[in-house]
C-alpha cells in the first residue's frame, strides 16, 4: 500500500510539471502586466518594480527561477497584495475554504446519500418523485441565485443569520454559505445514489438476503449501501477538490475570505505569482484527492487491489 502511494505521488510529478509550465507561460501571454494601471508609471519606476520581481529577466530564466523557488516551497510575493507572500495568502485562505467546503461536502454526502437511498427504496412512489424533482431543481438552479435568496430570507426578513462575513469561522456565519454551497452537491449525490442503489437492490445477492427474511432497512444498510456508494465515491474525488479549494461565487456573495477568489482576482490582476501558487496548490490537492478516492475504492470493494501501476 505505501509503495502504491509513493508510486502514485512520484507519477504525479510530471503531471504537475506540465501544469506549472503551461500556466506559467499562459498567464504571461495575456495582454497587460501586473503593474499596468490606467495612469502610466514613470518608466524608471516601472523598471524598478519589474526588477524587484525579476520580471525584467528573460522568460526562461524567470521560469527556472520559479521552479527553483517552488522546490524550496517559496511561492514568492504577491504582486497585488503587497503586504503578503503567496504562501501566507494560501495559508490563510485554505483553512477557510477547507472548513466551508468540508462542511458542505459532509452535508452533501449525508443528506444526498440518505435521500438517494430513500428514493431508491421507494422507487416510483410519490416520495421518489418528490425527492428527485427537488433534486433536479437543485442541480439546475445555480448558486448565485440560491445564495442571495437564502440571504434575503434568513438574514434580511428573519434576521436570524448574518448576511455575510466570516468572523473567524463562527458557526452562525457558516450556515448560509455551507447550505448554499452544498445544495447542488446534495442534489447531484442524491441522484447518483438513487441510480446505483436501484441497480444494487436488483442484484441477486440482495434478493437472496431478502429471501432469507432480512428486513428492508437491514438489507439496505448491511448489504446494499457499501456497493451502492461506489459511484458516489468516484464522484467525490474531483468534487472534493473543487469544493474545498473554494467557490468564487459563494465567497464573493458571502464575503468569505477563502482561496477561490484568489484564482479569479489573481488572473484579472495579472498577479502571476498568486495565480501560479493557487494553481500548483490545487493541482497537488487534486492529485491527493484522486489518490484518496482510489484507496477508498479498495477499502469499499474487495475486488479492487491496489497495485503499483498507478
Amino acid at each position: 500500500m505505501w509503495q502504491y502511494i509513493l508510486k502514485r505521488l512520484l507519477g504525479a510529478i510530471p503531471t504537475l510539471l506540465v501544469l506549472i509550465t503551461i500556466s506559467f507561460f499562459l498567464i504571461r501571454v495575456a495582454p497587460g502586466g501586473p503593474f499596468d494601471t490606467e495612469k502610466s508609471l514613470p518608466p524608471e519606476i516601472q523598471a524598478n518594480l519589474e526588477k524587484k520581481y525579476h520580471l525584467d529577466e528573460p522568460l526562461y530564466q524567470q521560469y527556472l527561477r520559479y521552479l527553483g523557488n517552488i522546490l524550496r516551497g517559496d511561492f514568492g510575493p504577491s504582486f497585488q497584495y503587497k503586504d503578503f507572500t503567496v504562501t501566507e495568502l494560501i495559508a490563510k485562505g485554505f483553512p477557510v475554504s477547507l472548513t466551508l467546503g468540508g462542511l458542505a461536502l459532509l452535508l452533501a454526502v449525508i443528506i444526498g446519500v440518505s435521500l438517494g437511498t430513500v428514493a431508491a427504496v421507494r422507487q416510483n412512489s410519490w416520495v421518489d418523485y418528490a425527492l428527485m424533482s427537488t433534486a433536479m431543481t437543485g442541480i439546475s438552479i445555480p448558486n448565485f441565485v440560491v445564495a442571495p435568496l437564502l440571504i434575503l430570507f434568513f438574514a434580511i426578513y428573519l434576521n436570524w443569520l448574518p448576511a455575510g462575513g466570516w468572523n473567524g469561522g463562527h458557526w452562525l456565519y457558516l450556515i448560509l454559505p455551507v447550505l448554499a454551497l452544498s445544495l447542488r452537491y446534495i442534489a447531484y449525490i442524491a441522484r447518483l445514489m438513487r441510480g446505483s442503489m436501484i441497480e444494487v437492490l436488483r442484484s441477486d445477492y440482495i434478493r437472496t438476503a431478502r429471501a432469507k427474511g432480512l428486513s428492508m432497512p437491514k438489507v439496505v444498510l448491511k448489504h446494499a449501501l457499501k456497493p451502492a456508494l461506489m459511484p458516489v465515491v468516484s464522484y467525490l474525488g474531483p468534487a472534493a477538490a473543487g469544493i474545498i479549494t473554494g467557490s468564487v461565487v459563494i465567497e464573493k456573495i458571502f464575503g468569505v475570505p477563502g482561496l477561490g477568489r484568489y484564482f479569479v482576482q489573481g488572473a484579472l490582476n495579472r498577479d502571476y505569482t498568486l495565480v501560479m501558487g493557487v494553481v500548483v496548490f490545487i493541482g497537488v490537492l487534486i492529485v491527493v484527492f484522486n489518490l484518496i478516492v482510489d484507496i477508498l475504492y479498495a477499502v469499499l470493494d474487495p475486488k479492487i487491489r491496489l497495485q503499483g501501476k498507478g
Binding site: 495612469k39 514613470p42 519606476i45 497585488q80 442571495p148 448576511a163
Partner: protein
C-alpha cells in the same frame, strides 16, 4: 429547502412557525402589487446637538463602532505604495499629512500646526505640531515628514503617485533616479520645521498634502520590517487610528491611537472596513444591519433603493468625469474633426443621466467636472456653445457635420466602441450607440474587454476607435483633468497632440497668480474641446447608503472622510408602512402590523 431547515439549529416549533409566516410574507412581498403598502424598518435617532464643537454626549451610544463597506481589498496599507480609493480611505484614518481636511473638504492644519508661503508661491515653511505622537508614543518630527517624502519618491519604493508630487523641486529627477534623494526640495531644518521648495507654483499644493504619498513614515519600523511594515503589529501610524487586524478579503479593523494629539476629541473607538466588491452583497449586508455605510450602491437597483431606503441614500457630486475618447492616430477619427464633433453632438447626455445612470449624475459637455476649486472660488467648466442649443438644433448640426465628414444615411460610418467589461459601461455604450444610429445612422459595434486587455489596447492605439474612459482626480484642481490630454501624458490614449495646448499647460504650471492661472486654464480647456479629442458624457456622483445613526458626516467633492470626525447616535428601530410612492401610510390592518413587528 425543507430538508435543510430540519437541520437548522433554530428550528424550535415557535421559530418554525415564525419562519413560515415570514416565508409567506416574503412570498407575498415578492408577488405583491405595487399599490399595496409595504412595511419597512426605520431608524429613529435624536437630533444632533453640538456643545463646544463636540456632539452632546447624551445623544451618543455607548458603543462607538463604525462599520464601513469599502469596495475591494486594498493592495497594501503602506501609504507610499498604496493605490486606489479603498486603501486611501483607510490610510486617511491611520495617517495624517501636513494638512488635513474638515468635513466639507476645506484644508485645515493637521500634521503641521501652521505654515508660511513665500510671495512667489515657491517656498513653504511648515511648523510641525509639537505634541504629535506616533502610535508607539514617540514624537512626530519634521524629519519623519522629510523621510516620508523621500521614501515616497525613492524609485526603490515603487510608488505609483510620484507624478503628483512633481511641483516639488527636483521631485521628477529624484523619482527617475537621476538625482540623489538629498537633492529633493524637502528639508527638515529643525525638529519642528519643514521647508519645501517648489519648482513651479502650485496653488493646490496645500490640498495635496493630505494625499497618502505625502504621509510621514516611522523610519525605525520601516528599517525593522522592510516590505512587511504595513501589517498589524508592525505599522506605526500618526493618525487618529492604528491598524489592529487585517484579514484579506474579510475585514480591516482599526482601533484608537491613544497617542494621537487630538485623541480627546475623537469619538469613534473602532472602525471596521469590509472589502465587499459585490454591490448587491453589500446592499444586503447593509439591510441586515451588518454595515453602517456602503461604498457604493448597485446601479440597477436605483428605483428600489430610492423607494425603500430613500432617506438613507446619499448622492453627491464627485470629482470625476466619464468620457469617450477618439483615437486620433488612426482613421476614421484622424484629421476628421467634423466627425468627432458630429458624434459628440449626437449624444443626448440628458437621457443618458436621467434614464441610464439615474443616480443624479450631471450631463457633461466640458472636460473638467463642476465644483473643482481654482485658487479662490470654483472653476467654471468651459462647455462648448452647442451644449446650450435645443436638441433639434444640435441634431441638425450633427447631421451637417457628419455629411461634411463624408458620411450619410446611404454611406454610414461603421465604428467600434470599446469598453471594459461591466454592466454599467455596457448600458451606456448601448444607449450611445442607439443615439448615434438614430441621429446619424452610424453602425456601432460594441466590444467589451477585460480591464487589463482593454488598457493595453487603449495605450497601443492600434485597435481602438472610440473607447470608454473615466477619471477621478487625486487632487482638487482643474489641471488634474486638463493634463490628461497633454501630448506626453500617460493617459492620453486619444493620442491628442496639439503644441498650442501643451504650451498653454506649461504656462499654467508656471503662473503664480491665481486669477491669471484660472483664465489660462479656461483658455486651454476651450482650445482642447474645440478639437474634441474626447467627448465628455457625464460627471460622477458618489452614491451610497448611510445609516441615520452615523453622525458628523460631511460632504465634499473629493469624497474624503475621516472617521475621527464622526460619531454614532443612540437609535431605536420602528416599523413604518410605505405606499407605492414611498410615502408613509398607516398600517393596513392589525394582523399585518403584528407580523411586521416580528422581524
Amino acid at each position: 429547502m425543507t430538508n435543510t431547515q430540519a437541520n437548522h439549529p433554530f428550528s424550535t416549533s415557535r421559530r418554525l412557525a415564525l419562519a413560515t409566516s415570514a416565508l409567506i410574507f416574503f412570498l407575498n412581498a415578492c408577488s405583491r402589487h405595487d399599490d399595496q403598502p409595504v412595511s419597512v424598518e426605520r431608524i429613529v435617532v435624536p437630533e444632533v446637538r453640538y456643545v463646544d464643537g463636540r456632539p452632546d454626549p447624551t445623544i451618543l451610544t455607548e458603543k462607538q463602532i463604525l462599520r464601513k463597506g469599502n469596495g475591494s481589498q486594498p493592495q497594501t496599507l503602506d501609504p507610499h505604495k498604496a493605490e486606489g480609493v479603498p486603501s486611501s480611505n483607510i490610510l486617511r484614518d491611520l495617517f495624517e499629512g501636513l494638512t488635513g481636511e474638515d468635513r466639507n473638504g476645506n484644508v485645515i492644519p493637521a500634521g503641521a500646526e501652521s505654515w508660511e508661503i513665500s510671495d512667489d508661491g515657491l517656498h513653504y515653511t511648515f511648523h510641525i505640531r509639537r505634541h504629535a505622537r506616533w502610535s508607539d508614543g514617540s514624537p512626530v518630527t519634521a524629519a519623519d515628514f522629510e523621510y516620508g517624502f523621500k521614501r515616497s519618491l525613492d524609485p526603490a519604493t515603487g510608488s505609483k503617485y510620484t507624478k503628483i508630487l512633481s511641483p516639488i523641486k527636483n521631485a521628477e529627477a529624484v523619482a527617475a533616479g537621476t538625482l540623489p534623494l538629498d537633492a529633493l526640495g524637502v528639508k527638515a531644518t529643525g525638529e519642528h520645521t519643514l521647508e519645501i521648495e517648489l519648482q513651479t507654483p502650485a496653488p493646490y499644493f496645500l490640498g495635496l498634502l493630505n494625499h497618502s504619498s505625502t504621509y510621514p513614515m516611522h523610519r525605525a519600523s520601516v528599517e525593522k520590517w522592510g516590505d512587511a511594515v504595513a501589517k498589524p503589529g508592525h505599522l506605526v501610524s500618526n493618525g487618529a487610528y492604528v491598524l489592529d487586524e487585517m484579514v484579506v478579503q474579510s475585514h480591516i479593523k482599526l482601533v484608537r491611537n491613544r497617542h494621537y494629539w487630538d485623541n480627546a476629541n475623537t469619538i469613534i473607538d473602532e472602525v471596521w472596513y469590509y472589502p465587499i466588491e459585490d454591490q448587491s452583497s453589500e446592499l444586503k449586508r447593509y439591510r441586515a444591519g451588518e454595515i453602517d455605510y456602503t461604498h457604493e450602491v448597485p446601479n440597477n437597483q436605483f428605483k428600489w433603493i430610492k423607494k425603500y431606503l430613500g432617506d438613507e441614500l446619499v448622492v453627491n457630486p464627485w470629482l470625476g468625469i466619464y468620457y469617450y475618447g477618439f483615437n486620433l492616430t488612426k482613421p476614421p477619427f484622424k484629421d476628421n474633426l467634423p466627425l468627432r464633433q458630429a458624434l459628440s453632438m449626437a449624444v443626448d447626455r440628458k437621457i443618458l443621466t436621467e434614464k441610464v445612470t439615474q443616480f443624479g449624475e450631471q450631463p457633461a459637455y466640458a472636460f473638467v467636472p463642476p465644483g473643482v476649486s481654482a485658487g479662490s472660488g470654483l472653476y467654471t467648466p468651459q462647455a462648448p456653445e452647442w451644449a446650450s442649443w435645443p436638441r433639434e438644433k444640435q441634431l441638425a448640426e450633427a447631421r451637417r457635420l457628419y455629411e461634411q465628414a463624408g458620411y450619410s444615411k446611404t454611406n454610414p460610418l461603421t465604428v467600434e466602441l470599446r469598453y471594459n467589461t461591466s454592466e454599467n459601461h455596457k448600458k451606456i455604450a448601448i444607449a450611445v450607440a442607439a443615439m448615434w444610429k438614430q441621429a446619424l445612422g452610424v453602425k456601432t459595434r460594441l466590444v467589451n474587454e477585460e480591464w487589463k486587455v482593454f488598457l493595453s489596447n487603449r495605450k497601443q492605439k492600434q485597435l481602438t476607435q472610440v473607447f470608454r474612459a473615466g477619471w477621478i482626480s487625486d487632487y482638487n484642481d482643474p489641471m488634474s483633468f486638463l493634463e490628461l490630454l497633454h501630448s506626453q501624458h500617460g493617459i492620453n490614449d486619444s493620442g491628442y497632440n496639439n503644441p498650442h495646448y501643451d504650451a498653454l499647460l506649461a504656462r499654467i504650471a508656471a503662473e503664480p497668480d491665481a486669477e491669471k492661472r484660472r483664465q489660462l486654464m479656461e483658455q486651454a480647456e476651450r482650445l482642447m474641446l474645440a478639437d474634441q479629442p474626447a467627448t465628455p458624457l457625464y460627471s460622477y456622483v458618489v452614491k451610497r447608503l448611510i445609516k441615520p445613526y452615523v453622525g458628523g458626516v460631511g460632504h465634499n467633492i473629493m469624497d474624503h472622510h475621516y472617521s475621527k470626525d464622526w460619531f454614532i447616535l443612540k437609535h431605536k428601530r420602528k416599523t413604518v408602512w410605505l405606499d407605492s410612492q414611498g410615502r408613509e401610510v398607516p398600517a393596513p390592518d392589525a394582523a399585518d402590523h403584528n407580523k411586521s413587528e416580528n422581524h
